[in-house]
């Protein structure tokens, strides 16, 4: 138990240190590095020591902490109201007031009668989440050390609040650990609101009009989720006198369906599913580490975490089917929209929503195979997506643009970075990497009970191939002649992080049988008393592909770069006389430059065309979900 408490408190201490230690103080980075190592090591320690153990629950004399948490909640609410009023935005004020009146009213009416047996708990799922938050979260913080100084060089107009930034990042990690270890729903709710606050402040870091808009949009949507969450908690306690996550699962389905739907709704808002997707795409105004953190290891993963926790309660109900469909709609529509986007960060954002949609759909289906693949998706997505965000963050500085259309010949300008990025992209959609393995299992999980979802998956996968492949093609195209290499200015901090994540992307795929047998299967066994059997032959095949790629790719590249000399090199065919390698002699004696652009199929998959389809369909589904739960 001490480890759990330490994991929650330690990042908090670090965040306070980040706030108070003066900038330029050389010890800051040392402390940060040590802290990150600790944050990586502890979840691994938890994993190793609990490898053969079931879930553990911890009692805690928490009277004092409960009061502290309540006071902090009021404080946060006050702070949010202050900020909103100052920015002349009143919707968040109303939402915060509703939420606080629910919570304060609850505290004073029922506060004395709340009996919580186990405040904290830990099972295999929490450990997986802790590993993701610990390792990826701290890797992103490490990247921040190199990134933030450059950020302020690039944007001199942005007020330098680096201390405050570090404070928020570590606070975020602390809250995430709180979410995944809390069994007391009031604690869970508190940490939930802290992540809302952190994301709001981080998105608004630049403090200009665009980032204020995005920040408040994120705040509004997550507050709506928070209000419903609070309502769910109160309803649950009033009807069943339960305030614990594990006890919730043991109760009669009819009694707890409505609170479970409320929690799932909060999860949908946090994981940016339709109709809440716009906050995540808006969040890209923030500095890159923030986007990476929101998309991979925190925030959105907290959303699907909660949904997966409560989905067993909804098993085999119409509400669960609605949840599945909301996930399915989010998956398909955002994958299609991603085709039409040329802004790299936006493509990544839509791809995140899409993958989370798949996880939500798996949670709704709630069979052993579906939950199994949901956990795999969480792991694989976290690693590859954080890697891609961090790469795009660097490219944005080096090229001065985050538009995919400006990434021609990237492999010549930033060769190592492009290699890393290719690993990340392959990790997102190609066999034998993680995401496609998970999709493969997901498809099998859907086919039996839910063919509609299998069909959605078939179309969505095709769309996924589209936007990744054309982006990949863009960055590996090669031009004749010399191009300036701009890579040498990337800082060591950033390289270390990228290295860790690139290796992790490959390593989680190689370790996936181990992860499955020792970590995921036990969790599924606890939940369903049966675990999906992996076909060992398929695993072997996947490994064969993986190993052959790992061996052939480097060897092949070396061979073609240095050994193979038996060729004649010519210019590309340009349909006329080549003037130089990128210009040719066109009609009327004019010299024409060549330009290569990708297809975006705006007419078919344009954002404004599809986004509202997703919003309205999912809104309808949400109303049905609440309707059937309330009856």
């Amino acid at each position: 138990m001490n480890v759990l408490i330490f994991l929650i408190v330690f990042p908090l201490v670090i965040s306070l240190l980040a706030l108070v230690l003066p900038r330029g103080f050389h010890i800051r980075k040392t402390i940060g590095t040590v802290a990150n190592v600790v944050l990586c090591a502890l979840p691994i320690y938890l994993l190793v020591t609990n490898l053969d153990q079931g879930p553990s629950y911890f009692r805690l004399e928490s009277g004092f902490v409960d009061i502290l948490i309540f006071l902090l909640e009021v404080l946060i609410a006050g702070y949010l109201i202050y900020l909103s009023v100052r920015a002349k935005r009143y919707l968040p004020v109303i939402l915060v007031l509703i939420q606080m009146s629910i919570m304060i009213g609850f505290e004073f009416t029922y506060g004395h009668s709340i009996q919580v047996e186990h405040v904290l708990f830990m099972d295999k799922f929490s450990i997986i989440m802790a590993l993701i938050v610990g390792i990826i979260g701290s890797a992103i913080c490490l990247y921040g050390f190199g990134y933030m100084p450059e950020y302020h060089e690039h944007y001199p107009e942005v007020k330098d609040r680096r201390n405050y930034f570090g404070f928020l990042m570590y606070l975020f990690l602390s809250a995430m650990f709180g979410i995944i270890f809390s069994n007391n729903l009031l604690w869970l709710f508190f940490f939930w609101e802290v992540t809302t606050l952190c994301s709001f402040l981080l998105i608004g870091y630049r403090d200009d009009k665009a980032s204020q808009d995005s920040a408040f949009r994120a705040l509004n949507m997550n507050l709506i989720g928070g209000v419903v969450f609070a309502f769910g908690i109160v309803y649950l306690f009033v009807t069943t006198q339960t305030m614990e996550l594990d006890k919730l699962l043991l109760l009669d389905q009819g009694a707890v369906l409505l609170p479970a739907v409320c929690f799932a709704f909060a999860g949908l808002a946090k994981s940016a599913q339709f109709p809440f997707s716009s906050w995540l795409t808006g969040a890209m105004v923030a500095p890159t580490p923030v986007s990476a953190l929101l998309h991979s290891s925190t925030m959105v993963k907290a959303g699907v975490y909660l949904i997966l926790r409560v989905s067993p309660v909804m098993d085999n109900t119409v509400a669960a089917q609605m949840l599945t469909l909301i996930g399915g709609v989010s998956f398909l529509v955002t994958a299609l929209i991603a085709i039409s986007q040329s802004n790299a960060k936006k493509v990544l954002a839509y791809s995140t929503i899409s993958n989370l949609g798949l996880i939500v759909a798996c949670a709704g289906v709630n069979t052993p195979a579906a939950v199994w693949s949901a956990l795999l998706l969480i792991i694989f997505h976290a690693v590859a997506k954080s890697l891609l965000f961090l790469c795009v963050g660097i490219i944005e500085y080096k090229l001065g643009s985050r538009d995919i259309e400006d990434m021609d010949f990237l492999i010549m300008r930033l060769p190592k970075l492009t290699a890393v990025m290719m690993i990340g992209m392959a990790g997102m959609f190609l066999a034998p990497f993680g995401m496609i393995i998970s999709k493969f299992v997901t498809l099998k999980a859907f086919v039996d009970g839910n063919p509609a979802m299998a069909i959605i998956l078939a179309y969505g996968s095709a769309a996924t191939i589209f936007f990744w492949t054309k982006w990949m093609g863009k960055i590996i195209s090669i031009r004749h002649g010399e191009v300036e290499v701009v890579e040498h200015t990337v800082s060591t901090w950033e390289w270390i992080t990228l290295g860790i994540l690139a290796v992790a992307t490959v390593a989680v795929c190689l370790a996936f049988p181990f992860i499955s047998i020792h970590v995921i299967d036990p969790y599924i066994m606890e939940l369903f008393n049966t675990a999906p059997v992996i076909d060992m032959f398929n695993v072997l095949v996947v490994f064969a592909i993986m190993f052959s790629l790992l061996i052939i790719l480097p060897l092949g590249l070396l061979y073609y770069a240095f050994i193979n000399k038996n060729y004649k090199r010519v210019g590309t065919y340009l349909g006329g006389g080549n003037v130089s390698n990128i210009t040719f002699e066109g009609a009327m004696d004019a010299t024409q430059p060549i330009q290569l652009k990708n297809y975006y199929l705006e007419k078919y998959f344009g954002e404004e065309r599809l986004f509202y389809v997703g919003v309205f369909v999912s809104l309808t589904l949400i109303f049905i979900m609440f309707g059937v739960a309330a009856i």
Binding site: F466, T469, V541
Partner: protein, 293 residues
Amino acid sequence: MNTIHEIVLSWGVFERMLAFVLLAPLVGGLLAGIDRKVSARFQGRYGPPVLQPFYDAFKLFQKEKIIVNKFQDFNIVLFLMFTIFSGALFFAGADLLLTIFSLALAGTFFVLGGFCVGSPYSHLGAEREIIQQVAYEPMIILVAIGMYQVTGSFKVAVIAQYQLPLILYLPGVFAGFLYILTIKFRKSPFDLSMSHHAHQEIVRGLTTEFSGSTLALIEIAHWYENVLLLGMVYLFFGFNPWLAVFVALATYLFEIFIDMNYARFKWQLTFGSSWLFTAVAGVSNIIVLSLMR
């Protein structure tokens, strides 16, 4: 024939893989030769000898290696390798979905080869190749789903030996598969990214910058892929091996016939019609099957 069938059944995984690796290019090349002969007759020409594709390939291997960048050929080598691997998986009786994903990996390398050279024609070809991939991918996955719904397994070995006629359960899926097979065989009206018809274009889309032995490799990969695809047709009729082989060949001739009778579609029509046809024929079939159970 039945004895051949039994011999194949008695083989182990690696023997079957090896058989595919060795025999598929012969069958595929021969089919390509028949294709050219039949096409020529349709057009009132005499046509080249049936073995012409092999002569072409041998000749291509003797050509000088001309490239525009050092790494372009590597993509094609990977494309060929993974195409062979996918086919070997299929004929070894492995998981159908895994075969499909592995084939998609191979296809991605091909597309990357087209992008990598940085020439406008091959860039356009590569873009169109992706559109083609996206057009056929849902239907191919639906084929696997439909077969699973009927036989209860994704294993090719199990599906091939299923005793009831799959085609009776999956007529819509088969129709949808035939539709996208035209894309996979690179036949008109869907031969957007590159065409086999020399008279239609001088600059051949994705393969514009590939010549000599690399072009031969592309051709050979295409042969392997065709055999794999005809193998998938076989599965629909697996209850009767004779009939299955006959239908597979008939399908090939049917695609040639289509090829002769259509002018090329625009990509919009190719893409839209494929997804729509997949939805109408394939999806409805899948839904009916799920309701039947």
